[in-house]
């Protein structure tokens, strides 16, 4: 595949495909094709898509190593930013449908009191309910990664430092899965699938770094013995 087709055909297509879930949600919500509780559907769907994109992001490097198809690397940032995009939509839906909708409006809806009460309500909830705490934490871990995702930031931090920072995405995966796990009532099959995916991808990474370290060690040992 040439650089041009990748940049001007494949990438835009993948971008559009990644937007499909939110497009579908917007269509279904506006035409009454969601369930009788559409706000709950939107909250659940944006959350699940955030976790899916975190998994896709984590899968790209192992997949690249396994297939040797290097252009895959060009999609890693896009996948990560889409994970952040869906997680942000998920968080905003919660803020509006769960927190804002439950407020009292003593001074009318459009007032400073509302904003203050909303902030207090979100903070209290994040503090009080463990599954909300870990969900918020998952979103928070993505924030520095999204901000430093530009080429300018890679240059500013330097490749090594940037790489180290972006390993945080594994923590994002684990915390996000924990959030899903603590949310379900009794059937843990779905969170279990995502937990398994994150574990396998993490195992891949650990295996690779161990092998690398072992390799460095043997080079070091050889150098010592020849000295």
């Amino acid at each position: 595949m040439t650089h041009r087709t990748l940049r001007f055909a494949v990438k835009p297509l993948v971008f559009l495909a990644a937007l499909a879930p939110v497009g579908w949600l917007a269509w279904a919500a506006s035409t009454g094709n969601l369930s009788a509780n559409p706000l709950s559907d939107i909250t659940n769907e944006t959350g699940v898509w955030a976790i899916r994109f975190v998994c896709v992001t984590l899968a790209i490097t192992p997949l690249r190593n396994a297939t040797g198809w290097n252009p895959l690397a060009k999609f890693r940032r896009m996948a990560g930013l889409f994970a952040f995009f869906y997680a942000t939509l998920h968080f905003l839906t919660y803020v509006v449908a769960d927190r804002f909708a439950g407020l009292d409006f003593p001074n009318g809806i459009a007032s400073w009191t509302t904003l203050e009460a909303l902030a207090r309500s979100v903070i209290a909830d994040v503090y009080k309910r463990p599954f909300i705490t870990v969900g918020f934490l998952a979103w928070l871990t993505m924030l520095p990664l999204a901000i430093t995702s530009t080429a300018a930031w890679i240059r500013r931090l330097g490749g090594q430092k940037w790489n180290r920072l972006h390993k945080v995405v594994y923590a994002t995966g684990m915390v996000a899965v924990l959030h899903y796990w603590w949310l379900v009532k009794s059937d843990i099959r779905r969170p279990l699938v995502y937990a398994a995916v994150v574990c396998i991808l993490l195992a891949f990474r650990v295996h690779k770094s161990l092998r690398k370290r072992a390799g460095e060690y043997s080079i070091h040992a050889r150098r010592l013995s020849s000295a």
Partner: protein
């Protein structure tokens, strides 16, 4: 005379049941993967047989009643799957007629009762009840039924009967959710005898003047509107009178989250979420949840002197 069928297919050619069941599971998983991201479309149950001579004397609340489509497309019925739309989507094979209920335990008239016997002599009435799910959403539902007390009186509980246990139907062939141990099947619920005898406790057989559709717990379910939705046992096949408090399924599953009483109470939070407000299906702003779901005047005397924080 014994006629032996000739076997012309070698047994080795017959697919082992294990394998074709696996294949079906695979297809189901494949279909689920394809459908991933697609929320089940909210479509209500097809309309069924009309119920006639329904008494409408029971006072209606001011609340706007939820639509047939809302009530029949959005509910928890884990026997059919864990999503709210699963009961509507997967209850097509659920046969609810003929129906027998086993009456057991501390009563003078144990034995099987046909649904017809249960309904004999009962005047059906409409009761528009608020329905509050433990997940903090609610609906207003025009149930059709008769007081549970009438049925209990018919079978004459003995003086030893202090509680009533309800067991729901569970059949993995008709109910795909039962194939997985999401809960300890069959589903069991219970009431104290005085709660069960309360005039608000309703045996439900209909909805909106029609026979109850399968996804809402046909042909016979409970409505106890001052309690969370999970107390409303669906598709009841067994009613047992017992001396000791029975262990209901959700309490067995997670006793720190779900108790025996499960009275709607805005001041006692579920460990993972608040019960102070609820989303009425069809509304954007959340409502304040009312003590005993707004039925405090009628039922609070049942719990006089009880610590409702401990007996959640």
């Amino acid at each position: 005379m014994l006629i032996k069928p000739t076997v012309d297919i070698a047994s080795s050619e017959i697919t082992d049941k294990k394998h074709y069941v696996n294949r079906r599971d695979f297809l189901r998983v494949a279909a689920a993967v394809v459908a991933a991201g697609a929320v089940v479309e909210a479509k209500g149950a097809p309309h069924g047989r009309k119920l006639v001579n329904v008494n409408r004397a029971f006072p209606r609340p001011d609340d706007k009643v939820n639509s047939w489509d809302d009530i029949t497309s959005y509910n928890n019925f884990y026997e059919f799957g864990i999503d709210k739309g699963d009961a509507g989507a997967n209850s097509g094979r659920f046969v609810t007629s003929p129906w027998k209920v086993s009456i057991e335990g501390e009563c003078k008239k144990p034995g099987f009762m046909d649904l017809e016997d249960i309904l004999k002599g009962e005047a059906l009435e409409e009761r528009v009840y608020r329905h509050r799910c433990v997940e903090a959403w609610s609906m207003v539902i025009p149930w059709i039924g008769f007081p549970l007390a009438n049925l209990i009186k018919k079978v004459e509980p003995t003086s030893k009967a202090k509680y009533v246990e309800f067991t729901s139907f569970a059949d993995s062939k008709m109910m795909p959710g039962v194939r997985y141990p999401i809960l300890n099947w069959p589903y069991r619920e219970g009431l104290r005898l005085d709660e069960a005898m309360h005039p608000l406790a309703l045996m439900v057989v209909g909805l909106y003047d029609e026979v109850l559709p399968p996804q809402d717990g046909a042909p016979l379910r409970l409505a106890v509107p001052w309690k969370y939705g999970f107390k409303h046992a669906k598709s009841i096949v067994k009613i047992r009178f017992v001396e000791r408090q029975p262990l209901n399924s959700w309490q067995q599953q997670a006793s720190n989250e779900y108790g025996f009483y499960a009275n709607v109470n805005p001041t006692v939070d579920h460990p993972r979420w608040s019960q102070a407000t609820e989303r009425r299906i069809g509304e954007f702003f959340r409502r304040k949840t009312l003590m005993f779901n707004g039925y405090a005047d009628q039922v609070q005397s049942l719990y006089a002197g009880m610590d409702l924080r401990r007996n959640y």
